[in-house]
């Protein structure tokens, strides 16, 4: 089988760049989407990107701490999801909408 | 590239055996249920309905593959695939027996081997975690199916099942963690190897017999219960409660897609029984030591089976079995012979024990289905959160205490 025309191993910077891309995608989702649940998911996407960075650096520094941190990020994300979704449910119960643009009673 | 070829071959073999096993598992279930209910079960197609699974498959494939108009196409089609995929993946990390060594064979100048490989697709050193993760993903299939088919019964079924699976995943994970605590590894192979040997020379050193007696056994029971719920089996089969939810999440599914869900379910059953066997029942280690002749148990069983079938064939009361039963007898005699070949026996004995244990667990599945009624939904959740979960936590805590103290 002929050797593949790609480097044997991926440089570290690729991982970091990937996480940057994902993070930017998350931000984009946060900026452009109007469904509050989707916005919430974009936040989760950002968290994941950050986790990837953690893991990558923990690989580079040959320390396990990065993993621990991303583990904590996961835990916090879980708690956040639980509470956030509960809030979304309540909001929907009271306002019958999920459009964040319509949830602007704080303004003015 | 030897590795890839080997992997592909193994994958093919495992997949073939597994799928066949699934088909026949259904046949087995129908038979056993029938006998539990004093029926005879399928026996039209082939002797004793042995060809029934084939017939079913043919029927399902040839059925019209219709897609209801009101469904969400993408997910409607995606759901069964997801279900099957996540049902099949876990098999990859399950070892079926000890290492397999094939001496070098030369066929027409092409030399193959010698091949030395483990009898599993891959030995992940976090196999248990892997299985947990994948089975966690299995929810999506059901949930999506329920949602996509845009039908209130299906939606209810989907919601129920996703809630139920999430709820029962916790106790299952905790029950799984209990033996891990004692065996102190996450790789199935290591776990099984650490269960070899016998206590006082005759009690097998399986996990359920290890430690302070009741705890591991409790963990086993908890795992079994939670697994029943995970696989949506009776008495926890609310997502597909035929009579209240008109078959729940796969109401709108026909033909092969419907079959896919069933495959997924039975595959999950197999996975769970394998995991139970590996973690609790000592994997491929025999029930009693070799010096008491455990190596000769399989041949004896097969020979006995052969004699039995010959006897029945001889009896005039069973005219239909004149030809089939002798065939069965001959086959089993052959099997017994194979088991007596020393080179092969080293390989086949573990396999035999493993399959025997897994089949026992599967039989329990069917047995329960034939015995117990279905839970009500609130009872189900109540049971999960107020009994199963605390029990698992307490059990895990006690075992942890014991491990810490010794």
């Amino acid at each position: 089988m002929p050797p593949l025309p790609i480097p044997a191993a991926a440089p570290l910077s690729w991982y970091l760049t990937l996480s940057a891309v994902l993070f930017a995608l998350g931000v984009a989702g946060f900026l452009f989407r109007r469904n509050i649940i989707t916005v919430f998911m974009s936040i989760e996407l950002m968290l994941n990107a950050v986790n990837l960075t953690f893991i990558t650096f923990s690989y580079r520094l040959k320390q396990v701490d990065g993993h621990i941190f991303s583990f904590f990020v996961m835990v916090v994300a879980a708690a956040e999801a639980a509470v956030g979704l509960a809030i979304i449910l309540t909001v929907f119960k009271n306002r019958q909408t999920l459009e964040i643009d319509e949830l602007n009673s704080l303004k003015n | 590239m030897n590795f890839f070829i080997l992997a592909i071959i193994k994958a093919a073999v495992v997949a073939f055996i597994l799928l066949t096993a699934l088909a026949y598992l259904q046949w087995l279930e129908r038979k056993v249920l029938a006998h539990i209910q004093l029926r005879v079960g399928p026996r039209r197609v082939g002797p004793h309905g042995l060809l029934q699974p084939l017939a079913d498959v043919v029927k399902l494939i040839t059925k019209e593959d219709m897609v209801p108009s009101h469904v969400n196409k993408v997910f409607y089609l995606l759901a069964p695939f997801i279900a099957v995929m996540f049902a099949l993946i876990p098999i990859a990390v399950i070892p079926f027996g000890t290492d397999l060594t094939i001496p070098a064979i030369t066929v027409g100048g092409v030399t193959i081997g010698p091949i030395h490989t483990a009898m599993e697709l891959t030995d992940l050193n976090i196999g248990v975690l892997f299985i947990l993760g994948i089975s966690g993903l299995g929810v999506y299939g059901v949930a999506l199916a329920g949602w996509a088919s845009n039908n209130k019964y299906s939606l209810l079924g989907g919601l129920r099942s996703s809630a139920q699976m999430i709820s029962y995943e916790l106790p299952m994970a905790l029950a799984l963690a209990t033996p891990l605590l004692a065996l102190n590894s996450l790789s199935f192979r290591t776990i099984v190897n650490s269960q070899s040997g016998f206590i006082w020379g005759f009690i097998p050193r399986w996990t359920i017999f290890q430690g302070p007696f009741p705890f591991m056994f409790t963990a086993f029971l908890l795992f079994l219960i939670a697994a029943f719920a995970e696989t949506n089996r009776v008495p926890f089969d609310l997502p597909e409660a035929e009579n209240e939810l008109v078959a729940g999440f796969h109401t709108e599914y026909g033909s092969m897609k419907f079959a896919a869900f069933f495959m997924a379910e039975y595959c999950n059953m197999v996975t769970v029984s394998c995991v139970a066997t590996l973690l609790f029942l000592g994997g491929w280690h025999p029930l009693f030591p070799a010096q008491y002749g455990s190596n000769f148990l399989p041949p004896l069983i097969f020979v006995g089976g052969a004699l039995l079938s010959f006897m029945h064939a001889a009896s005039p009361a069973r005219p239909f079995d004149k030809f089939t039963l002798p065939v069965v007898g001959v086959v089993s005699l052959g099997l017994a012979g194979i088991f007596l070949i020393p080179q092969l026996s080293a390989l086949l004995l573990p396999l035999f024990w493993f399959c025997a244990k897994a089949l026992t667990v599967l039989f329990v599945y069917i047995w329960i289905r034939g015995t117990l009624p279905r839970f009500r939904y609130d009872q189900l959740m109540h049971f999960a959160w107020t009994f199963l979960f605390p029990a698992a936590v307490v059990n895990l805590f006690l075992v942890g205490l014991w491990v810490a103290l010794t």
Partner: protein, 166 residues
Amino acid sequence: MDALLFMIFAAVAVVCGLNLVLQTHPISSALSLVGVMAALAALYLLLGGEFIAAAQLVVYAGAIMVLFIFVIMLLNAGTEHKALKGSWAKYAGVPLLVALLGMVAYLVQRMSPPTENVVFGEFRKGNPVEIGHALFTTYLLPFEVTSVLILIAILGAIVLARKEIE
């Protein structure tokens, strides 16, 4: 080989991420997010984070996202219609993000030389043993605190989502 795997999974991740942003239906977004997570789990494995990969699958994909889908189904959230009034952020957002991305990418390239590669299996500390050890010795206090946090979150969720009792 590693690079190939990386490319595959990175591609999956990016495509799914794009999908998450572009799809109009929450369910599609949710599923693409699950895809991202699965791909990331694979990448974690490449980076030697066995435990974290499994945790990613179990916690994120297996629990959190199911919760999302659950809620989406419960609210039966439909596709979102076009924005009635767009805020300036929508128009300023793209260039901003491009700038951000470009800068980060440039800096990353500049800071970490392309010669240092990620070789699978070179980092062996990611296994459950190490993680557990670190978690229960160095990071014991944060660990316990997170448990309390989760407890609070559970209570909060229950209080928020329960039916109003008249």
